[in-house]
């Protein structure tokens, strides 16, 4: 006999097998379970093999076979394999098998289960084939419903793909981007500030939470000459560990080496971005090792980034990467490598294994305290803030705007989808009316209500599935179109919208939801007909309940489209008023062109000569009225500021004394059409040797010397005492929506800047002068690249582009919503008229005038529309208040929008009810009465 412990162990193992036996159907357990376990136990005889191994094999055997038995049951049901089939095959009669005494029960159980399974699968198969038949029977109905829904689902998928690309998608080509955190500096009154290079180095070397895995990057404009083409591009200037921290090793050549993080100016190497390599160098692998000219010097291409890798900012595809330590060569005239006060880098760290964001925050706070001890001047009032990659978006500063805009657009397209759903629900309701007799018969024959609802829902889900497929095709087109859009700006923008897994899952969930949304109401309605009347064929005459539902849906639909239209109307009005706002300068007939002699290796003296000659040359061109240069073009989201000290002015405790400024030449104010309120513009005498001067705007005066004459007063800024020589009106500098803010202008000759943008005031169309301006620059230096050669109106278009895009999208969505609503009203009215043919026929026969009939139908339709409009306007008031932050210069109860939109919609609705009304009036009473 087996020894006692082995037997006990066997019993324990047997217990777990007994549990596994629960996986089998009950009949199997009853008839075969014990035998099966015994047989397994026989194999577990301790003398034969390792009992644990046997137990595992036994368990696996049980689990697998249980699954197989279940599959067999399903298969038997589907293919109806049973003894009758075998009997037929052997062409004999079924002799009742002579079973044991307790077998009849088992057989009954078995057949019950079989019936249940058969019912489920059979019903599904039946419902589906029925749904497909209904689909094919009414191709027009199907097309209308599918198209309407596809439009709604497609728009949602397309918009979601944009939101997904901006907010949710992981960074392409980056390993474990969930570990990345973006680091910013916080100052009083300014969060999300950039970092200086020494600050970055301290973070990298001191914060244990990163274990040295911290990178820095920024954009730097460079002029590239290769294969005989000069162009200015935005390079990504990155720390040497950039590719290592991101885990994105280049596909060709190498990334940057550790020693390229040291020795400023020693390593003229670049890594090309993959798409730039494809586009500019034709994907030629031999480019690695080649020399190209960057800012007039030879640089060597050492690598090509891997495909899809685009750095740490979504939607931007950098053309090339250059080492941070080459800053002086890339941005001549500035030494930022050791300047702790110059904050201009983006810093991204990778959390070391096991480090949480909370721990990281503690480490950062501790590091700030250390730094405060070491550099009290630079860290007295600021800290470090951290944003995980998942929440970073484009930049935390604009994240709330991004999220707000995304949410608004998603809500708008969701509204559109709801309107589409209501349309389809109405179509289904109308058809449900036609099928009342069918339902009545089925119900009276004993069909369960749940059974009928299931069948109708299967139909609507099938519709939704087809619409989802069609919608994804629409979205695919829309996304393809969006990807071909190029923005007129320096940054290598790449939307790269894709219908990825997120989008597909979103659309699938959406279509199931829509299927239920538009299918449930008609299904509930249709499965509850009054059996007697529907059997008598009187169903079609004014079914009160159904009609109430239809009317409610029309009212709801009108209300939704009113909300949609008013919201987009408000947004468009805001856009309009933003475009028309007084910018403080005349943007018409103004041509811009940027040059940077510093990038060409010019020193200051040579650059001064260059700018003098260029000003003279451009002014001499026919059609040019005035020429001025400025460091920055207003309203392009660029800004520089520096601290000021006003003698005799005591700033408040939290008041920022940092004032935005621009560096300009003497002709700038004339060229821009900015008048002098008092004093004089800059003159040639305001040069290096002249007394330091500046010009301020009216807001500057209002803030520091309200109501006083300020010409001749002194302002301390940039370490110098400057005398105010002139005052100009307050304009817009950073964005159109900004509050009036203090601003100052410094002369280029006294606050030197190499890169400048020419502002050329023309008498006629500025585009016509573009060629002559470029030729003039190249007459002075053939190798000098001219960048951003475009009109001021175009440039402003760039800054307005996101708002315009949003406005255009909202406008299109609003109009689509109105069309859908109009179609909905029309179809409901047309259907209602066709249902009332009999009644209207009697009215006409009794002498009702055409006008009376038309009036009756229109009144009925417009009552629904009216209720919807009032309801919608109320909702739109609420929506307008929510949008107040996004619309500029327009009240949330803008009367033009609130009166205009409803009247347009009412006109459209009137048309949509008039057509069926005409048909009602033309009913031939004889035909109508005979029809019954």
């Amino acid at each position: 006999m087996t020894p006692q412990p082995a037997r006990r162990r066997a019993a324990r193992l047997g217990f777990s097998h007994r549990l596994l036996l629960r996986l089998y159907p009950k009949q199997f357990r009853d008839s075969y379970g014990q035998d099966l376990l015994w047989q397994l136990e026989d194999m577990r005889d301790p003398g034969r093999a390792n009992p644990i191994g046997l137990w595992f094999r036994g368990s696996w055997d049980l689990a697998r076979s249980a699954l197989g038995v279940r599959a067999d049951s399903v298969r038997n049901c589907l293919f109806r394999t049973d003894q009758r089939l075998w009997a037929r095959v052997t062409a004999g009669n079924i002799a009742a098998p002579n079973r044991g005494p307790n077998q009849s029960n088992v057989e009954m159980n078995m057949s019950a289960q079989r019936t249940r399974l058969q019912t489920v699968f059979g019903n599904l198969r039946h419902d589906l084939s029925f749904a497909i038949r209904m689909l094919l029977k009414n191709p027009m109905f199907t097309a209308a419903a599918v198209l309407t829904l596809a439009l709604g689902i497609g728009l949602n998928a397309a918009v979601f793909s944009a939101v997904n690309a901006m907010l949710f998608r992981p960074l392409p080509g980056v390993v474990n981007d969930g570990e990345l955190v973006h680091l910013y500096r916080d100052w009083p009154g300014m969060s999300w500030g950039s970092n200086s290079i020494p600050h970055y180095q301290d973070i990298r070397d001191r914060v244990e939470a990163f274990d040295g895995q911290v990178l820095a990057w920024t954009f730097a404009p460079v002029s590239l000459s290769a294969d005989g083409v000069n162009e200015r591009i935005m390079a990504n200037m990155v720390s040497a560990n950039y590719f290592d921290v991101l885990g994105a090793a280049p596909i060709l050549g190498r990334g940057f080496l550790p020693n390229e993080a040291n020795d400023p100016g020693a390593h003229r190497v670049i890594v090309l971005g993959h798409s730039f390599w494809q586009g500019r160098f034709g994907g030629d692998p031999s480019v690695v090792g080649r020399t190209v000219t960057l800012n007039g010097q030879s640089w060597m291409v050492v690598g090509v980034a891997k495909e899809g890798f685009k750095g740490t900012m979504p939607m931007i595809d950098p053309p090339m990467y250059v080492p941070l330590m080459m800053q002086r060569e890339l941005i001549p005239g500035y030494d930022l490598i050791v300047a702790r006060g110059n904050n201009w880098m983006n810093v991204v760290g990778r959390l070391a294994p096991g480090v949480t964001t909370d721990l990281c925050r503690q480490h950062l706070d501790a590091t700030v305290l250390q730094l405060r001890d070491d550099h009290p001047d630079h860290y007295d009032n600021n800290g470090i803030s951290m944003v995980p990659q998942a929440e970073a978006g484009l930049h935390p500063m604009i994240r709330s705007a991004q999220v707000g805009m995304s949410a608004l657009t998603m809500v708008v397209v969701a509204f559109l989808l709801m309107i589409a759903c209501i349309n389809v629900a109405n179509l289904f309701l109308a058809r449900a009316g036609e099928r009342r007799k069918e339902m009545g018969i089925r119900l009276s024959l004993g069909a369960k209500r749940s059974r009928i609802i299931t069948q109708l829902l299967t139909e609507s889900l099938l519709f939704a599935t087809i619409a989802c497929a069609a919608g994804l095709i629409l979205a695919y087109w829309a996304v393809g179109f969006a990807n071909t859009l190029t923005l007129p700006m320096d940054f290598p923008v790449d939307f790269d919208l894709t219908l990825d897994r997120n989008v597909l899952l979103f659309s699938a969930a959406l279509s199931v939801l829509t299927g239920i949304l538009f299918g449930l109401a008609p299904a509930l309605q249709a499965s509850r007909p009054d059996t007697v009347t529907s059997l008598k064929g009187e169903a079609s005459r004014e079914p009160g309940g159904k009609h109430r539902l239809v009317r409610t849906l029309v009212v709801l639909q009108t209300a939704l489209s009113i909300v949609l239209l008013i919201s987009s109307g408000l947004f468009l009005r805001g856009l309009q008023s933003a475009t028309n706002v007084d910018k403080g300068f005349d943007e018409n007939n103004l041509l811009l062109a940027s040059v940077d002699p510093g990038l060409q290796g010019y020193d200051r003296e040579r650059s001064e000569v260059f700018y003098r000659e260029l000003t003279a040359g451009l002014s001499a061109l026919p059609g040019v009225k005035a020429v001025g240069f400025a460091r920055m073009v207003p309203l392009t989201l660029n800004s520089s500021d520096q601290g000021v000290g006003i003698p005799g002015y005591e700033p408040g405790p939290d008041e920022s004394m940092s004032i935005r400024y621009n560096i300009v030449t003497s002709g700038y104010f004339v060229a821009m059409g900015i008048p002098m309120l008092s004093g004089r513009p800059f003159l040639d005498m305001d040069d290096r040797d002249g007394a330091p001067v500046l010009i301020v705007n009216q807001q500057f005066v209002n803030r520091f010397w309200p109501g006083e004459d300020v010409v001749g007063r002194i302002v301390r800024t940039g370490g110098e005492e400057r005398e105010i020589v002139g005052v100009v009106p307050t304009g817009k500098y950073f964005s159109l929506g900004e509050e009036p803010s203090a601003f100052m202008y410094l002369p280029q000759s006294q606050d030197w800047s190499y890169p400048m943008t020419a502002h050329v005031r023309t008498t006629g169309d500025p585009n016509e002068l573009a060629v002559s301006v470029r030729r003039e620059v190249q007459r002075l230096d053939a190798s000098m690249p001219v960048a951003d050669l475009r009109t001021m109106t175009n440039t402003l278009g760039v800054s307005l582009f996101p708002a315009r895009l949003g406005g255009a999208a909202l406008g299109i969505f609003g109009i689509l919503g109105m069309i859908l609503a109009a179609v909905g009203i029309y179809s409901v009215m047309a259907y209602s008229v066709s249902q009332r043919t009999h009644e209207i026929g009697i009215r006409v026969a009794l002498g009702a005038a055409t006008g009376a009939v038309v009036g009756m139908v229109i009144k009925k339709g417009m009552t629904m529309v009216g209720v919807g409009v009032v309801l919608g306007a109320g909702l739109a008031l609420g929506a307008g208040n929510l949008m107040q932050g996004m619309i500029y210069g327009v009240s949330a109860i803008d009367p033009i929008t609130f009166l205009g939109v409803p009247s347009v919609l009412c006109t459209v609705a009137l048309l949509a009810t008039y057509l069926p009304a005409r048909r009602a009036a033309s009913i031939d009473p004889m035909k109508a009465l005979r029809a019954e």
């Binding site: 014990q34 197989g68 067999d72 049973d82």
Partner: protein, 117 residues
């Protein structure tokens, strides 16, 4: 909606055929079936217990065999499995079908001279 016709031969897998063939000699319990199967096929077919009982259950559901209680030597009451009439007929028709296929194959084989591989 009966789609199947009587002319269509339903699938009977070799191992199912083998079980029926073994039970033709008289009722047998599970363990005996496996041993017999193993010896008849020279060890080529020897299902694990889970697989064996799945097959038995399937054949039972098709009405080709039934469990039949019987005392055995040790204290365990093992089920013996017995062919039903229908099972016998199915076995016969399958055997005829297989025999014909085998015959055809062998006939072709003898028509042709042996190939040298």
């Amino acid at each position: 909606m009966a789609r199947h016709s009587t002319t269509k031969r339903p699938p009977l897998k070799p191992v199912e055929f083998l079980v029926l063939a073994i039970l033709e000699n008289g009722p047998l319990h599970g363990y005996g079936i496996v041993q017999e199967m193993s010896s008849r096929t020279e060890g080529r077919i020897s299902p694990r217990p889970g697989d064996l009982y799945r097959i038995l259950y399937r054949l039972d559901q098709w009405g080709l065999l039934v469990p039949d209680d019987r005392e055995t030597a040790d204290e365990r009451r093992r089920s013996y499995y017995r062919l039903t009439d229908l099972g016998g007929r199915v076995l016969l028709s399958e055997a005829e079908f297989l025999a014909k296929m085998a015959e055809d194959t062998l006939a072709k084989r003898t028509d042709r001279p042996a190939e040298v591989v």
